[in-house]
């Protein structure tokens, strides 16, 4: 049973997911379900984040200090875990966004017919 973490393609996907989560949370603290829904809606149903990928990513980001969590009341008065961006997280987001733009531009130059 190969774990997704060992798959090199999974690395790229994982990093991208991290960036998306950080960006989503940068607008305000959210719980896990809200983050998934937000990405789903913002990309017009193109990107759908499965729980199997979302929660490991959230916990990993929290352990790395880019997200901070606290328990609060959700919109329907249930207990939910909210994640917010930390200062280091904000810095990381900026780095990753810049990196991603560079990557996208480079790839675009190749894909576009000369």
């Amino acid at each position: 049973m190969g774990k997704p973490e060992n798959d090199p393609r999974g690395d790229l996907l994982r990093d991208t997911l991290d960036m998306l989560i950080l960006k989503t949370v940068s607008r305000g603290a959210m719980h896990g379900y809200a983050i998934a829904e937000s990405i789903h809606q913002a990309t017009d149903d193109v990107l759908r984040v499965e729980e199997g990928a979302l929660y490991p990513a959230l916990h990993r980001l929290e352990l790395r200090g880019w997200l901070a969590s606290e328990w609060g009341a959700s919109e329907n008065n249930r207990r939910a875990k909210y994640y917010r961006l930390t200062a280091t997280g904000r810095k990381q987001l900026a780095t990753e966004t810049a990196h991603w733009s560079r990557m996208a531009a480079a790839i675009a130059r190749i894909i576009e017919p000369a």
């Binding site: 719980h31 896990g32 379900y33 729980e51 929660y55 490991p56 916990h59 352990l63 939910a80 875990k81």
Partner: protein, 894 residues
Amino acid sequence: MWREWLAATRLKLRALMNRRKLDGDLEEELSFHLEMREQKNRAAGTGNAESRAAARRKFGNATLLKERCREMWTFAPLETLWRDARYALRQLRRGPGFTIVAILTLALGIGANTAIFSLLDPLLVRKLPVRDPDALVFLGNGGVPQSQDYDTAVISELQAYRHYRDENRVFSGVLAFTTSEPYDVELGGQPSSASGEVVSANYFTVLGLRPYLGRFFTAQDGGASSAAPLAVLSYSYWRRAFRSNPAVIGQAISIQNSGWSYHPLVNHLFTIAGVAPPGFFGTEVGRESDLYLPAPNQGDSPPWVVVLARLKPGISLEHARVALAPIYQETVRDSTLPPIEKKQDMTGLVIEPAAHGLSPVRNKFQLAAEISMAVVALVLLIACVNVSSLLLARGISRRRELTIRAALGSGRWPLVRQILVEAALLGCAGAIAGVLAAAWAAKSLAAALSTKELPVHLDASIGAPILAFSAAVLIVTILLSGLIPALLSTRGNLAADLKVAGPNATSAPSRSTTGSILLAAQIAISAVVLAAAGLLLHSLFNLETHNLGFDADHLLVITLTGQPSSPAFYEQLLDRAKHLPGARAAAYSALTPLTGDGIGINVSVEGHPAESPAQAHVFFNEVSPGYLETMGIPLLEGRAFTPRDGASQPPRFAIINRTMAQHYFGQRNPVGQTFKFVEGNRPPMQIVGVAADSAFLGVRQKPTDFIYLPYARATRFRTFDVRVSGSPAALAPAVRDLVHSLDRSVTIENLTTMRHQLNESLHQDRLIGTLCAACALLALALTCVGIYGVLSFQVVQRTNEIGIRIAFGAQRRHILSLILSRGAAILAAGLAVGIAGALVATRVIAHMLFGVSADDPATFVGVAALLAAVAFAACWIPARRASRLDPLAALRHE
């Protein structure tokens, strides 16, 4: 990067504190998500149950998800290790017999190594407890070492020290000291003894020490010749004799020469200036000075010193050697040694690193220590191999369990790790037990090294470097014991084995081959240890029974010290002693044999020019008439001394020994011939008799030229020998009373029997012999247990096969021979390798052996026979058990 790791670790630690909260939170977080999705579905219009089911489906495997998230919050490697350890503990508890045997085995191995190292470390490894010991060097003369015990290369004349001190440009300080000697000290009116060194005024400064209490003496303080000389106490002496009383500073203390000091003290009233720091014992490893006395500023005392210097930073040893060469020439020029001795002793400047101090103790014990280390390392190896085969056997019987784990998805590494963790637990338990035992034994071990002649003071306490060594030994032990079983038990197609019936059956080739190889290895290593022990014990026996040339039994040896109030004391003592009940003869001598003390002098004989200084050298002893008779040394030619011989001053008559007679006079009768002393311009000596050769410096010494001189009246006697019929120890109190009653100011420094003195001179040989014998016994016991264990196990494994054989008509004796022949094959293989290895290994100790060669056939045959006997005994029980199997039960056995 670091900060991230730190933050993550902090979070993980918090999670560690409250596992349940972590689990609860994860559960709640995921179920919240599930509910939200369910809600969404319901809002889209599907029914309740349908929504829930749909939500669940989309959610996927909740348990797996929770596991993955949870894993992130744990210290994964630590947790697995902890799990493995708990499991291993359970397994070990299930087989207590095996566990105890394994732990004891390893404890013995690790403990023995730790104990020996705790002696080796202060002796060989540790540097002097001074500031920057690596910058210190010894200065001395090259030359022929006079005594095996002492490193005479580093002894210099006082004038040489002054030259080095005043004229050098490469040292930041040059100090001188004498070797530690006993002094008579009066404390609170009570006479006692303390060891002391006479040192130059800059001793403590050059060494870079600070006083623990008070201060040290300096060049400004007058030295020993001043009106109120200062003295410094060692820390342990201050604790012992003054009970750590800080008020001793400024107190007066009376210190006087005992009979045996080379350095006469001018004054005897010293003032205590301070206490040296704890842990400082001088610069001689293995000795401890209680007192440090300042040398006189002027004059020729002390005549012989050891010179120690501190190199300036940046100056190398070689640079110093070159820079000192011209100064050395000056010391040769100013030397007051007679020319022949100068040529012999001052062959060139010796400059050596002094970080490890001076040590006659080290010189004496170094080889013994290294051999001991090697032997206990071999014993540890046997112990590891033993535990390894035990673990291997258990690995085979747990095969079913291992295969199930493999089938459940465990990779090979977790299984290997499991067995290594078991080995680690055993090793740690063994190490703790072993180190504790070693710590308890360390003091008595260090004390066992001491003899009256050479008391040894070593700090053998178990400190950090020794524990580090034990930890290293532990790791090696775990690897040696655990790797083979771990790798072998998990080899092969584990899943295929599940299909084969029975918990012990394997589809892989029989593991018993490895077990047999390990066993053969144990036998081989034991053979080496036994051979070494056998040779050393044989050598010891030879040493103890060697013909010394005199009669060592029934001889009481008394060493006297102190100035008698009347010169008639000695004659009175001799006379009265001869008449004590049980005494047969009595005599005086300046020195007593077998203490390693000897004085030499050079002679020349008419018509025999000496080719080399060594040839002209003879040892001598000054003796009273009746000495030869008292010692039991046969007189071969001529006559013994009479009282008149000693009357002439200087003495004109001598008795030589047979070696010297043959050397200079061949077959001719030397009685009546003369010889001269090379130095001193004395009249020729006439030979009046020839005595048989007898051992003098030590048992191992080959016969060498020796002369006896008659006792001159004025000389102070040292040793008083009494021949006794019956037990000499019984006469001791009578002799003691006799000396006391005759003169109070003469005291007995030492009272012992010659047999005891002989034993003390063989002290090191006995220590090594004892240690090797103990290790040999240990090796034998371990091997015996190993053979028994492995063969028993193999019998159990082959029960089925044996049952079949019996069912097909095999007799008991066939089964017996089946098992025994297996054992014999292993024994043969082990012995072959072992004896070959032993022949190579014993060459290292060849030069230590006395009267037996390193390839002595009798010893090796004995070793083989002993191992064979032990192996046979260990095989017998399993073989018998096999032959007694009930065939029906055996066939049913899986």
